[in-house]
């Protein structure tokens, strides 16, 4: 749906619904903010408008209209209409009998404004290079390829790298009788634009294309609720359908005009004339849910829910390759004889959840819970005689697909004890409230077709929170969990001939034995009516004691502090500062030859990866002249630093440079009340972004005479912005 259509529909709805409600002698209220805004950015870096579309020139900032009559209600609201990040909504209701909501929201995602590509997109998903250039470069004078391509790329077109998501939601809720409610909702999500896509033609020939995105998701959902006395039941179901209008991405090989094969996939990419890649396939999901809630005697409650979904995907497969030379050179029965014409993908998800909550004993509350979730991937296993590697060479290695599935079963018990309530005590001078909580949890997981097919985790958690002296609160939490795998299937790391193709000591972190410790400590202290202070510390450690290769340790810590200051009725100040540290340690082993894997200790290497994050903000709200002039100021600062400390058995490893991202963002807003119901608003803003990242800055469009990139890296920038607005209340 286009913006114009939305605006027209909104206007029509406002006139019709507003008139209808007004006809029943309505009260109304609302406001509208409009004005003009300017901004100037020093470099066309996407970060400033990554998810927003700030207006330049006259614009409508926000609006709200609420009308209510004897029985009918109408609301229309929005912000930044007609812009890519607009939000508009309306709501119509007739008492408590029914209510209809409609909401339209745009979410832009700007990747880069400096991307360029030598390819012409002849039609969506089909990328072509001029034949004359390729002939000159490859067939007449192959030695000139780098210089010819460099010329072409230097003169190539700019390409918009952004994706726009437009979402329309409609919902009708009604109450046909007491205790009975229904809800019908629908959603349309459209996503379009271009985003970077890696499309290789060889190990050294990485080509980046602006992948066209033209996708739509439609959802419809209906549910019915019955709640009477001690029983509540919810039953519902729906369908979600995803459609991709681009079925394939096809692109010219800059090094060839005619197909050929190349004996090794390690070539620089002069194999196929045209390559083809599949895009996200269409898929559907239907689902149903039934939930039951029972209020049992003596403040007990039982809830049970059953959820079932079935997802299917059956898009036709593309051929193994468009490279005709491979088809000629290889027995066609091998390349052409695909085991099926489509995946026949089907997966079901069955989830059961049951909880019994009891508050029978005063001050003591407990919950017993059981949850089982099974993702059953029923997609058939497809066996292939081989595959075509990067459209260059037929690899006659039999391969088969792995329809991975998983299952989790969780059994837990939670207890919360409030001794003050249990013993009917009122807080004394020191301790005013106290809660003690505990949890025991057992989780069993199953992983279909993985090297670990099942594991189990036992966890306990204790938490205490207390209020002291009526102005000091403290909360602490400690959770420890230990996960152990049942059996490690060593054959999974060997090929069918028994050759070791994966390091025997590798334990992938998602299925490895793990000890997990989580700790939180939070304080809040109201020093006086003028000052509040809070301090929090979070700690998470995942330790993998039996992992020789892979992630051995992950630690995440964060310290958060905040000070609020209210020196008087006229001024509010909030200052916050946070510091975070993440440290991941992973070990690996360099094994540059073909299988079996190398095991020489000197080839071990280790990466000690450390993030440090600083974040500070200041918010001030100053009512300079009460009910006349106020000033609101916001400032935010963030600095994200990552370090990559590398070491190896031979002592030759060199760290890659640190990456740093730093941002300052400041805005001051002044509001002045004119006579009547009008406010004049002035805004001044400044933003600064500095990036130091070896991988994402100054990306060359043509690398080493082979790789072709979009050059969509980061740039430093500064933005100055100012706006003058008026808010009319009515």
């Amino acid at each position: 749906m286009q913006t114009k259509n939305v605006c027209f529909a909104l206007l029509l709805a406002t006139v019709c619904c507003g008139g209808w409600v007004a006809a029943s002698r309505a009260d109304s209220e609302g406001d509208v903010t409009y004005g003009s805004q300017w901004w100037d950015q020093s470099a066309p870096e996407a970060k400033f408008r990554e998810y927003t579309d700030p207006a330049k020139g006259p614009f409508l900032d926000s609006f709200l209209l609420r009308q209510w009559g004897k029985h009918d209600f109408f609301t229309v609201y929005g912000s930044n209409p007609v812009h890519k990040d607009q939000l508009v909504g309306l709501s119509v209701a007739h008492g408590a009998q029914w209510k209809f909501d409609l909401k339209y929201q745009g979410v832009p995602h700007l990747y880069s404004q400096i991307g360029r590509t030598p390819y012409a997109e002849l039609q969506p998903g089909v990328f072509s290079l001029p034949d004359t250039i390729i002939q000159l470069a490859n067939q007449r004078t192959p030695g000139k390829y780098p210089s010819v391509m460099q010329d072409l790329i230097n003169n190539s077109r700019g390409v918009a790298l952004d994706v726009q998501t437009n979402e329309t939601k409609a919902r009708l809720r009604g109450r046909p009788a007491e205790g009975c409610q229904f809800e019908i909702s629908g959603l349309s999500r459209m996503r379009s634009g271009h985003k970077p896509l890696g499309a290789p033609l060889g190990f050294a020939s990485a080509i980046e294309l602006p992948e066209p995105i033209d996708q739509r998701t439609i959802e419809a959902d209906a549910s019915m609720t019955y709640a009477r006395d001690q029983v509540k039941i919810v039953a519902g179901g729906g369908v979600s359908a995803f459609t991709n209008r681009i079925k394939a991405t096809r692109w010219d090989n800059p090094k060839r005009l005619t197909d050929t094969t190349y004996a090794s996939a390690y070539s620089p990419g002069d194999g196929t004339a045209t390559a083809q890649m599949s895009t996200a396939p269409d898929n559907k999901m239907v689902y149903g849910q039934l939930s039951l809630g029972l209020d049992l005697p003596r403040d007990n409650m039982l809830t049970a829910s059953l959820y079932y979904s079935q997802g299917t995907q059956d898009d036709p497969w593309l051929p193994q390759t468009l490279n005709t030379a491979i088809l000629k050179a290889t027995p066609s029965a091998s390349v052409d004889s695909l085991p099926a014409s489509s995946t026949g993908g089907k997966a079901t998800n069955l989830t059961m959840d049951t909880r019994l909550t009891s508050s029978t004993v005063r001050g003591l509350r407990g919950t017993l819970r059981f949850r089982e979730q099974k993702y059953d991937n029923k997609t058939p296993v497809h066996e292939f005689k081989g595959y075509v590697r990067m459209d260059q060479v037929w690899e006659a290695i039999p391969i088969e697909s792995d329809p991975f599935g998983n299952k989790q079963t969780v059994l837990g018990a939670d207890v919360d004890f409030d001794p003050m309530s249990a013993f009917e005590l009122q807080g004394g001078d020191v301790l005013t409230s106290l809660h003690l909580s505990g949890t025991l949890e057992h989780q069993k997981r199953e992983h279909t077709l993985r090297e670990v097919e099942s594991d189990a985790e036992n966890a306990y958690m204790v938490r205490a929170r207390a209020s002291l002296f009526d102005n000091f609160s403290v909360e602490g939490r400690l959770r420890h969990a230990k996960r152990e795998l049942d059996e490690f299937i060593t054959e999974d790391y060997r090929d069918e001939k028994g050759v070791q193709v994966e390091q025997a000591g590798l334990r992938r972190f998602d299925v490895a034995n793990r000890n997990q410790d989580l700790r939180n400590l939070n304080f809040a202290y109201e020093i006086s009516d003028m000052f509040d202070v809070s301090l929090g510390y979070d700690y998470a450690l995942n330790d993998y004691p039996d992992t020789r290769y892979g992630v051995t340790s992950q630690k995440d810590e964060q310290l958060t502090s905040e000070i609020s200051c209210h020196p008087g009725e006229a001024l509010d100040l909030v200052f916050g500062y946070s510091q975070g540290w993440i440290r991941n340690i992973q070990t690996s082993h360099e094994s540059n030859n073909a299988a079996p894997v190398d095991t020489l200790p000197k080839n071990n290497w280790k990466a000690d990866l450390r993030d440090r994050n600083d974040y500070a903000f200041l918010q001030a709200n100053w009512k300079v002249v009460p009910k006349k002039l106020s000033i609101i100021a916001d400032y935010g600062f963030s600095k994200d630093v990552s370090r990559y400390i590398l070491s190896n058995g031979t002592g030759t490893a060199q760290d890659v440079p640190d990456t740093r991202y730093r941002r300052h963002d400041a805005q001051v807003e002044g509001r002045y009340w004119l006579k009547g119901d009008m406010e004049i608003v002035g805004r001044l803003g400044y933003q600064e972004f500095v990036a130091v990242d070896f991988a994402a800055k100054d990306i060359p469009l043509f690398q080493n005479g082979q790789g072709i990139y979009l050059g969509s890296g980061f740039q430093d920038y500064r933005v100055y912005r100012w706006a003058l607005l008026a808010t009319q209340h009515f």
Partner: protein
């Protein structure tokens, strides 16, 4: 075992402290109020009554029979007769004072959470609130009125009657550590308003872990990223199991909220022969394995491929 014993001792000590430090509750007043209806409230509290009437509660007031009870000011604030009598200026002997009148009213924001929530949960017991009693916020004694304002809502359209214009801003008042995470260079459009905390979490409770709005992390992500839903011909095991194997939804130092920079992200699991196991260090800065999008320069279909030649996610 030793740690468990220490914890048990600490918990016992805290419970003991509570008993020692506390004193018995005082007796309550025996004056009983009566319901007087909402009309009289309008005389003094016009603005508050207007806001009440304009919102969802005003709608419920019109159809008391459908919502199961009469809705009005006294539904939440309790019988107002003592307050009305006190404010009427009666000097008669035994008439309540203004202080007594105010004290006779229930003010949800000043009540303990469990008591304050009773009025709300009387009606809001299904839909979003189906799992309230079993949710984290109920366990943490969060009152409905800590987030919602009946009389001065600020959310766009006043649909959810929130105390802040943005849902996320509301959540971040308590979940302060998330504010810093969302400020990291790689983040989802939360602070920009493209989505909010409640796009993923149901603050009123849910049977799913972390009060998610879907059964699993992946089903939640597929709501917006349905292109990743599959099932694919070639699946990537950790992707199918949990999107959070690689992504940090609350923010990260890396683009696409990746938990680690590529190639080290991929090398957490891939250390087989040849290039997956190579140590990419400073001399390799110009290598297409380290530079730009690293492994994804070629393996761009890591979420799954439906191409017959897509085993290694290159097609």
């Amino acid at each position: 075992m030793k740690r468990g014993l220490t914890l048990l001792l600490a918990v016992s000590a805290l419970a003991g402290l509570a008993v020692l430090a506390a004193k018995p509750a005082p007796p309550k007043s025996d004056r009983v109020g009566k319901f007087v209806g909402s009309e009289i409230c309008d005389d003094c509290h016009g603005a508050a009554v207007q806001q009440f009437k304009a919102g969802g509660h005003g709608r419920a007031e019109k159809d008391s029979a459908l919502v199961g009870q009469k809705i009005g000011c006294e539904t939440c604030h309790g019988p107002a007769s003592i307050h009305v009598e006190a404010e009427s200026g009666s000097d008669a002997a035994g008439a309540p004072t203004k202080e007594e009148g105010r004290a006779s009213l229930l003010v949800p924001s000043k009540l303990p959470a469990a008591e304050a929530n009773k009025a709300c949960l009387g009606c809001h017991k299904t839909g979003q609130q189906f799992y309230w009693k079993q949710g984290f916020h109920a366990q943490a004694d969060v009152a409905c009125v800590q987030c919602h304002s009946i009389h001065s809502p600020k959310d766009a359209g006043r649909v959810a009657l929130l105390k802040q214009a943005s849902t996320s801003e509301l959540c971040l008042q308590c979940h302060k550590n998330k504010r810093a995470r969302m400020a990291r260079s790689g983040h989802m459009p939360i602070t920009e308003g493209g989505m909010t905390c409640v796009s993923c979490h149901n603050p009123h409770g849910s049977p799913a872990p972390h009060q998610l709005k879907a059964n699993t992390v992946n089903e939640l992500c597929y709501k917006c990223h349905a292109d990743k839903r599959g099932p694919f011909l070639w699946e990537h095991a950790p992707v199918r199991e949990n999107c959070m194997s690689c992504h940090e939804p609350h923010g990260a130092n890396n683009e696409k909220v990746l938990a680690e920079k590529r190639p080290y992200l991929c090398q957490r699991c891939h250390i087989a022969t040849r290039h997956p196991s190579t140590l990419y260090d400073k001399p390799d800065l110009v290598s297409n394995r380290l530079f730009n999008r690293s492994c994804s320069n070629c393996h761009s279909q890591v979420h799954g491929s439906n191409h017959p030649a897509g085993k290694f996610f290159l097609r």
